[in-house]
């Protein structure tokens, strides 16, 4: 798999830094956003290959972001992974209903993250 462009969305700077560190290390191009709204704003101007988003964020949470993206034609089929410390079925069901492609539990192992990215991108 070649390098892809990934947008990571997380309100925690250290989590963004960790994700970037891991994903850039795997050869990807990584952009990040602090919350759902900023992510949407970025996504209005760029189209990445994959979005990895946190759930609990101020302004617009991960569910809101995914729902908003799935309403747009160009994002109907783009893979969106949720990366969250939460792991309740209820939340996962909600993410799935919103249109998430997959769910990764924090803290993540870089290898598993790589596998997850591979699994949803061409």
């Amino acid at each position: 798999m070649g390098p892809i462009t990934i947008l990571t969305v997380d309100d925690s700077p250290s989590m963004r830094a960790l994700l970037k560190h891991a994903l850039v290390g795997q050869g990807h191009v990584v952009h990040d956003a602090e919350d759902g709204l900023l992510a949407l704003d970025w996504l209005n101007r760029h189209i990445p290959d994959l979005v990895i988003t946190d759930i609990n964020m101020p302004n617009m949470d991960g569910f809101g972001l995914i729902e908003a993206l799935r309403k747009q034609d160009r994002y109907r089929d783009m893979p969106i992974l949720v990366l969250s410390t939460e792991s309740s079925d209820e939340k996962k069901a909600r993410a799935r209903d919103a249109g998430a492609t997959g769910w990764i539990v924090k803290p993540f192992d870089p290898d598993k993250l790589a596998a997850a990215v591979r699994r949803v991108t061409h």
């Binding site: 700077p13 250290s14 602090e34 089929d77 783009m78 699994r119």
Partner: protein, 729 residues
């Protein structure tokens, strides 16, 4: 970016999170509990948990997990936020703060004090909620924190399986290993999923596709281009562990019917309807989560909108009567995401330093050009204006709101309440006031000391307060404001005030003053700052730690500030700290003395004068006092006190500069002449040379020469104290 650096970011983030959480908790305590307050506490704890896991701080992670579980229940409205629960949350917050200090290496791992168990008990109790299926919350709380759990590897990628399994016709078993039936639903390609990627990955592990079932393919008329119609049967060699297969299908979700079986053990799907297959689903799940999903097929799936979910307790009037203005101001300062950028402090300091040099160069240039008669006044004044502007901007970069210091105070107050049995209402104002970072870093200790002092010594015991006709709850007010080039911080209480007779007696006992001394109220009050002074008859655990208020005074002076005190018996005591806005620049009075150019900090200067002969009195051949409107001030010849040579006796020709010193009041410094008054950039002698008593630093003058900045405080002791005076004579 290295792991360590990312960890540093995390530690900063912890502080910010704690800060936010504490403010929200206090808002709740003050009756302003709204959904957003709870949510922000939850988010802060949640973020810390995430980072703690990522960086391997297991105790922190496990504690935040318990804390978060309870917060989540409160946020989701499952548990009403009762005063008792709030108290527990605040205690948990304090322990969390300790955990964070522990990972920074600033403290030992905190004593839990049973708070973890308490949180767990709360999490597992049913709360006062009956509308919600009781099974849900316990399930959430029992799910172990991912990294703490033993089955981390399996849990790492959560598994989302459908409760519908495909009713494929099972083919004959082949050669051992696993058989996978994969039957995507029509919408399996939605949301970016693609079963083909999964199959490809399986094949990478040595799997082979045994059959491809095209039976579901419709006519071209009804064919949907983005629909999924194909089903697969895949053989996976026995060498591939089942967990690995499960991991690959983590993401399958509802999109694909999936079953994994050992060869020869596949059920005949045709034998029972799809729904009945559900009980087998848990077999393929490593996680306990799925069982709850299956056990509660009719549970109300749609989770409430988090942000709109009203909290169980009534939301109180957002306009609280007290503190409205300051709280509102604080909130405004915090409202909305302010775009920020993190800058390495070294770079910032280099900028400030360089701008400082620029200021000096600019003034050198101005001096040189005006000396050379070059007519460039407009440009020069414009340049000066711009440089000043730039300097202000650079200085502002180092400024931080004092909030980070103030936010520690509520906790100290809580601890002291517990320790002393007194009840305290803390009022905090001006948290958004900005100070230089260095000041912020060093102001914490002295401020803590003053707060402890106010509660321990200032406030009376509850029974004494009631006897004095006061409210049982004592008031302590902490406020900051900018006034001119200074920041004023005040700590005041409505306690008993300073017992001047006792203070004076103590000072006499400690030989700080003589019994005959006639002191004003003000002077007596200031005695409590004298080194070695302590009025506590019973040394308490709180402020009587062998550290007196003199340490507070020294610390504040070390920051270029002043402390003053005012007290009214029976009404209370107020300490005011006056601190400079920046430590890097000061207004200076440039004087000449013995052929040297020296600088007196303008902060200290009260006035300058030339004395009339009758105002000068000689005490000894080398000691004089000057009568300034009835006050006799000691005259300190700068030249001798700095050891630069012999001075001419003070005369009406001498220029005297009256300066205010903290420890000894006003003194008159004798210099040869006053040259100028201007801003100087302070260069530390400690870092560039070595510390010299009497010299506070150095600066570069407009003509490029170096001038020393006088430390007025160091000149003072030789002047005022009778004992010191004897020694000097």
């Amino acid at each position: 970016m290295q792991h360590d650096e990312i960890q540093q970011i995390f530690l900063l983030e912890c502080d910010e999170g704690l800060d936010l959480a504490e403010r929200a908790l206090l808002a709740c305590k003050n009756g302003n509990q709204d959904a957003e307050a709870i949510n922000s506490i939850f988010r802060a704890v949640h973020s810390i948990k995430g980072g703690a896991g990522a960086f391997g701080f297991t105790p922190l992670q496990s504690f935040t997990h318990k804390f978060e579980t309870v917060l989540q229940q409160v946020r989701d409205g499952d548990k009403p936020l009762t005063p008792a629960l709030l108290t527990t949350l605040i205690r948990a917050f304090d322990v969390l703060t300790d955990h964070v200090s522990a990972i920074k290496g600033q403290a030992e791992a905190p004593a839990d004090g049973g708070i973890s168990a308490e949180l767990e008990a709360i999490a597992e109790s049913d709360g006062a909620e009956e509308a919600k299926p009781a099974s849900l919350d316990p399930v959430i709380s029992e799910v172990p924190s991912p990294a703490v759990a033993d089955d981390v590897a399996n849990d790492d990628l959560e598994i989302d399986f459908d409760d519908l399994l495909a009713d494929l016709n099972a083919p004959e078993p082949a050669t051992g290993g696993h058989v996978i039936h994969l039957r995507p639903t029509l919408r399996a390609l939605d949301n970016g999923s693609d079963p083909l990627l999964l199959i490809r990955e399986l094949c990478g592990l040595g799997a082979t596709v045994r059959t491809v079932d095209l039976a579901a393919l419709p006519d071209l008329d009804s064919f949907e281009p983005d629909g999924a119609y194909i089903c697969w049967e895949i053989d996976v060699p026995a060498s591939v562990p089942r967990t690995m297969i499960e991991e690959i299908f983590d993401f399958v979700g509802e999109a694909c019917g999936l079953s994994i079986h050992v060869h020869g053990e596949e059920p005949r799907f045709a034998d029972f309807p799809a729904k009945a297959v559900t009980p087998t689903a848990p077999e393929v799940l490593a996680s306990a989560n799925a069982s709850s999903e299956n056990a509660e097929p009719s549970s109300p799936a749609p989770a409430p909108e988090i942000n709109e979910n009203p909290l169980a307790p009534p939301i109180s009037d957002p306009v609280a009567p007290a503190l409205t203005e300051t709280r509102a101001a604080g909130a405004t300062a915090n409202a909305g995401p302010t775009p920020t950028i993190r800058v390495d402090l070294d770079r910032l300091d280099r900028l400030v330093d360089t701008v400082g040099e620029l200021v000096i160069t600019q003034s050198m240039l101005a001096q040189r050009l005006s000396g050379a008669g070059v007519a460039a006044e407009d440009e020069l004044s414009q340049l000066e204006y711009l440089t000043r502007e730039l300097q202000d901007c650079a200085m502002a970069l180092r400024a931080q709101p004092i909030r980070s210091v103030f936010s520690r105070v509520p906790r100290i107050v809580r601890e002291l309440e517990a320790e002393t049995g007194k009840r305290v209402t803390l009022t905090v104002e001006g948290e958004a006031t900005e100070l230089d970072k260095t000041v912020i870093e060093r102001i914490g200790e002295p401020l803590t000391h003053l707060i402890r002092n106010a509660i321990d010594h200032g406030l009376e015991k509850i029974e004494d307060r009631i006897a004095a006709g006061k409210a049982a709850e004592g008031n302590v007010r902490l406020a900051a404001e900018q006034r001119g080039g200074h920041i004023l911080i005040s700590v005041s209480d409505d306690g008993r005030g300073i017992d001047r007779a006792r203070v004076f007696q103590k000072a006499v006992d400690r030989k700080i003053v003589s019994a005959e001394a006639r002191l004003t109220d003000d002077e007596i009050d200031n005695l409590i700052f004298a080194p070695g002074f302590s009025t506590a008859e019973q040394v308490s655990n709180i402020s009587g730690r062998g550290v007196g208020l003199d340490v507070v005074k020294q610390a504040i002076q070390g920051l270029g500030g002043r402390v003053s005190i005012s007290s009214e018996p029976g009404k209370g005591t107020a300490f005011s700290l006056s601190l400079p806005l920046t430590l890097a620049i000061a207004d200076g009075m440039i004087v000449s003395c013995g052929g040297e150019t020296l600088i007196l900090p303008l902060n200290n200067v009260v006035e300058s004068l030339q004395a009339k002969p009758e105002e000068l009195k000689r005490l000894s051949p080398t000691q004089h006092v000057v009568n300034v409107r009835g006050n006799f001030l000691p005259v300190i010849p700068l030249i001798t006190s700095l050891g630069m040579g012999k001075t001419e006796a003070v005369s009406e020709q001498s220029v005297l500069i009256v300066v205010e010193t903290e420890s000894f009041g006003q003194i008159a410094i004798q210099v040869d002449a006053i040259q100028d008054q201007r801003q100087v950039v302070i260069k530390s002698l400690e870092t560039n040379f070595r510390p010299i008593t009497g010299i506070g630093g150095a600066t570069i003058l407009g003509d490029g020469r170096i001038a020393l900045i006088i430390d007025v405080e160091a000149l003072a002791p030789a002047a005022h104290s009778p004992r010191e005076l004897d020694l000097a004579a």
